[in-house]
Amino acid sequence: MIEQGAKFFTAPPPTTDLGLGGIGTVLQGSLVLVATALAFAAPISVLAGAFIAFYPNSFTARLARQLAEVVVEFPTIVIGLSVFGLFIVDLHWGLSALTGAIALAVVMMPYMTIQISEALRVPRAMFEETLYALGMSRLRTMLFVMSAGRRGLLTGLLIGMAKGFGETAALLFTVTTSFNLFFTSFNRPVSAIPVLIYFYGLAPYENWREVAWGAAFVLTVLVLALFSLVRVLARGGMSR
């Protein structure tokens, strides 16, 4: 990685020939996958988290919370296989950035939902009755609570992203192991850093294994950076 310098982040990984190449394709793939998964999962998680925080005793909220807690503990390889079975085998969507992102979204969603519902619990308890007493509508009350708890909301999204970057098993079925493909469109396959680490780390070629270690380092830094951001946000408490 040090040998390659900046090229490590842009070049495709080496094939069987010599030379080191880089992780350009999988880094881009991971970014596309996590961003797309976030676009699917974030709105659902925010709504579900808010619903659980506001109607904690309702049947739907209890069900949603139970479901999230179960899926969090679920083996992600089963999620990968299920997405593969449903979207790729049954619906013939093929390996694509989209199916990969769907699998990731399913993995990320429960983490984000639980975190967001917890983050909104305190501001809801603090402000809900006050806001109602001031003649605020239910919707406005919810928006106020979300705005007061927005650091916690953001934390939830970051935790989901960190989970998404590191997730491997759910992607094994839904991304390509042709690691030299750059992202071109959502219905074309991409690959991801952790999948590359798995395949290259076990390879019989020295240069592949070096790339795998380099990729592992990049992934670690990425996830650590996200969690540092989470810690900074958590320390700030409630925001204006």
């Binding site: 005793n57 603090m126 402000f127 809900e128 009755e129 006050t130 109602y132 007493a133 001031l134 003649g135 605020m136 509508s137 406005r140 106020f144 007061a148 409630m238 925001s239 204006r240």
Partner: protein
């Protein structure tokens, strides 16, 4: 007749879960521009009665309400509760400003959110006017943009009163507004209550006959969810009919 009073309550029953919190509260008339105290020991249903008057109790998932309450002659249960609460302000026992907002924003936020003012100038005026009415302006005018959490308990409670006044309510409900405040702060709030009745009706829940004596025109004695009796302060505190009221006023229990 009912149009001339702020509230008229008939056959009001409230349950929280299976607990019968208010038991057939009837024939209670709260006149306009008076201070009306709801006096009773803790657990007697004072807060629930207040929260029924602005329909806040109905936001509790376990609450059930039956009966009739007229506000300015209009049945509150056929009104939009959100609109009712803008006309019937509420001050909680525990001062509850938005701690993460400035003093200014604590008042400006609901004014803006409810569309009560159009220009920045208008909002500024309402903020200043409300703080003055709550006898707080002089103490905070140089630090309007400081966090509300930096104020003392008594100041926070007056800020909350100012926030309620900014909506220009015709009734202000106050749930033991001085019980969490030091003596000096409490006296300022009592003085404020007496000022406010010139412009609106103030309904105050209190558990002390002393406070009821200092501020009220009318006193209602609530015990175990039932109205024992109510009437002008002089009658209620000097010559009540009911023995239970006599004992409570004399400080024999409660």
């Amino acid at each position: 007749m009912s149009g001339h009073c702020a509230f008229r309550i008939e056959r009001l029953n409230v349950w929280l879960d299976s607990k019968h919190v208010l038991n057939d509260v009837s024939d209670v008339i709260i006149p306009r521009n008076v201070v009306f105290s709801i006096m009773g020991p803790s657990g007697s249903g004072k807060s629930t009665l207040l929260k029924t008057l602005n329909r806040l109790v109905e936001t509790y998932p376990n609450a059930r309400v039956e009966g009739k309450v007229l506000f300015m002659g209009e049945d509150i249960f056929s009104m939009d509760p959100v609109k009712l609460r803008r006309r019937v302000g509420y001050v909680f026992q525990q001062p509850n400003p938005f701690p993460h907002m400035s003093i200014y924003d604590n008042i400006a936020y609901p004014v803006k959110a409810l569309g009560l003012a159009k220009s920045k100038r208008e909002i500024d005026d309402i903020v200043k006017d409300s703080l003055m009415k709550a006898n707080l302006y002089d103490e905070v005018k140089d630090r309007l943009h400081a966090k509300a959490s930096a104020l003392s308990g008594g100041q926070q409670q007056r800020l909350v009163i100012a926030r309620a006044l900014a909506l220009r309510p015709s009734v202000l409900l106050m749930d033991e507004p001085t019980s969490m405040i030091d003596v000096v702060g409490a006296r300022k709030i009592e003085e404020l209550i007496l000022q406010l009745k010139k412009e609106m009706t103030v309904v105050v829940a209190t558990h002390t006959p002393q406070m009821a004596r200092r501020i009220s025109d009318y006193v209602l004695f609530l015990y175990d969810g039932r109205v024992v009796e109510w009437g002008p302060k002089e009658v209620m505190l000097e010559a009540p009919e009911n023995d239970l009221t006599k004992m409570y006023v004399a400080g024999r229990f409660g």
